[in-house]
Amino acid sequence: MGRRPSIAVRLGLAAGALVAAAVVATLFLIYDTTVGSARDEFDYRVHREMEELVTHHVSGGSDALAIEVKRRVRDAEGERFYYMLVASSSQPIAGNLDGWPEKLELAGGVTSFNLSSHIGGLLRELHGKAMPFEDGHRLLVGEDVTERVGFERDLRTALVGAGVLAVFLALAAGITIGQNLLSRVKRMNRTIVRILGGDSSERVESSGRDDEFEELVRHFNALLDEKDRLIERVREVTHDISHDLRTPLSRMRNRLELALAAPREAGHDAEVITRTLEDAGGILDTFDALLAIAQMESGVLQARMEPVSLDELARDAVELYGPVAEEAGSSVELSVEPVEVQGERHLLAHATTNLLDNAVKYAATAAPIEVRVVRGPEGPELVVADRGPGIPAEERERVTQRFVRLDASRGQPGTGLGLAFVEAVARLHGARLELYDNAPGLAARLVFRTTDPPTRPA
């Protein structure tokens, strides 16, 4: 894994940066509006003052202007404005400043200025306008803006502080949200790493919240369960193969080795060969059945589904097995109603004959074996019910597993895969295989869970 900043942190930072930018822009706007309008007002007042003084100069020249400046200094205006009228030699003529500020130089025309000046021993901030006249005189009108500058400074400090705080909080929030998402992703990742490390029982813990992450966790866990199920299947099959194919193979091998070592004798050789052929046949049967079950469980046969008439299927099977049952001293009774299911005919037929085969093999009694096809409450049902010894309740679950053969049946030929095959066929068809007590005897029922079973005229 690269150590680039994680996606959650990057998204969090981006979101934080956006929020921060918005806050800073807003604060700036507030500052600019507040400060800007105050400045405009100051400017306007100074401008008017200047204009009035210029009017006096126009009408009465420098002397009139000097008189007017002196009057204004004396009057109320003197408390608000600062004036300075100097001659071309910078000799003060009138005004309430000590002199022409050294730092203020005039280029010609009206000049705005901001400067600090000592007035009455105090350092004051001055803001104002100054202009030269044709006779070399220069006039300055200014206002003491010390308070205003102080206010602006305080406002600036406050807003910058607020901005910094906002940026910090926004970024922190972004990162926190990112980390929160990240921690859930990290939790999944840790689980995956543990599973990869071999602990396949590990699952992602539920957060208890009902959100998309929780859904992801649920799906992820379901995926793991499915994977476990498949692995378990593979393990079972491997185990089954090693057991049920190796045993007869080693038996065959032993027999052939013994036969090879023994002197050639036609009768004995023929017997060995016959038994070996039988074993080979048995191995192939087992192999075929395992392959068929595995193929069904992998779902590759799904494409061949078509409407299949269950009653005809049952009739075919009963016609095949009826005589066999009679031979064994029993019989098969068929009762059907026309029912169709969506399915694969060959597999369903094979499953049906497997059920019948079991009934004839293990439960041939004078009482007939019943084969029924009915429309059950859940969907079409195919039932094969016998009156034989049955299977104890605690064993019923087990007999559908591969290679499970009850002790009573070990003497009979068979792969031990018959019911496992039926169950695989059932699963492939979205059906269910139920084994239940026929009191006495065993009943096997295939329940097809179609909500609306398609029917066909009788």
């Binding site: 192939l284 049967d285 075929d288 392959l291 068929a292 193929q295 046969l301 061949r304 075919d316 016609e319 095949l320 097995y321 005589p323 066999v324 031979e327 694969e344 060959h346 037929a349 094979h350 004959t353 497997n354 085969d357 004839v360 093999k361 030929p413 068979g414």
Partner: protein, 243 residues
């Protein structure tokens, strides 16, 4: 001299009763085993070991039947067969394959195969099927009545009589007997019966077919002469007048 006579005899025998069969199979050992067994059964055998060779052989000579492996190097069996059929060659063909599921069987028959046999198979099974597909090409006109010796079957009335005496058969028994009469003189195996009479392409293993045959036999042969239904050991059954 004696050897020459014997081989001439073999050729005459093959011409009279045997078939000329082409085996297209890339597994040399399987091919040789099959060729030997077929020759011992009185047939003349050619072998091809890949698809291209098989196609050129099949095109340059006339065969009574083809045994064609489904998966071959250079040209696979299905393509070979489709090419032959496309060129109007209707030589009876049995496809042989390790692929056993129904889809594969359907594909094989659709490509023009007359039968489809899954490996591994018993030689007797292949031989019985080979004789059936080769004979099928005779193209007999549809009949409404079939008969072997004094056994008669009326397909329209669905009635069976033996020496003029009516025999009652269940519908499935009728179908079974019809199948055996149509292949009178040929070996029919248990799996062939399951396929033709039940359309079951799997083997229930239990001796179900034997039970059906023995019932049929008790109805058709019991009390009549000569016996018509014969057991061919290790292979299946055959219906014919003289054993």
């Amino acid at each position: 001299m004696e050897v020459a006579f014997r081989s001439v005899g073999a050729i005459i025998y093959a011409l009279a009763t045997g078939m000329k069969v082409l085996i297209v199979e890339d597994d040399a050992e399987a091919s040789n085993y099959l060729a030997k067994a077929l020759r011992e059964s009185g047939h003349v055998v050619d072998q091809a070991f890949d698809g291209a060779q098989g196609l050129s052989r099949a095109r340059s000579e006339r065969y009574d039947a083809l045994v064609l492996d489904r998966m071959l190097p250079s040209l696979d069996g299905l393509t070979l067969l489709e090419t032959l059929r496309g060129a109007g060659d209707q030589t009876p063909t049995i496809l042989v394959s390790a692929l056993g599921d129904v889809d594969e069987r359907v594909r094989g028959l659709r490509a023009g195969g007359d039968d489809y046999l899954v490996k591994p198979y018993a030689f007797s099974e292949l031989l019985a099927r080979l004789e059936v597909v080769a004979a099928r090409r005779g193209g007999a006109a549809p009949k409404t009545k079939l008969s072997v010796a004094n056994l008669e079957m009326d397909l329209l009335a669905r009635e069976v009589t033996r020496a003029g005496e009516r025999i009652e058969l269940q519908p499935r028994e009728f179908t079974l007997l019809e199948y055996m009469i149509r292949h009178a003189g040929q070996v029919v195996t248990r799996t062939m019966i399951l396929e033709s009479v039940w359309d079951y392409h799997f083997d229930p293993k239990t001796n179900v077919i034997d039970v059906h045959i023995s019932r049929l036999r008790s109805k058709v042969d019991k009390g009549f002469d000569p016996p018509l239904i014969h057991t061919v050991r290790g292979a299946g059954y055959m219906l014919k007048a003289r054993s």
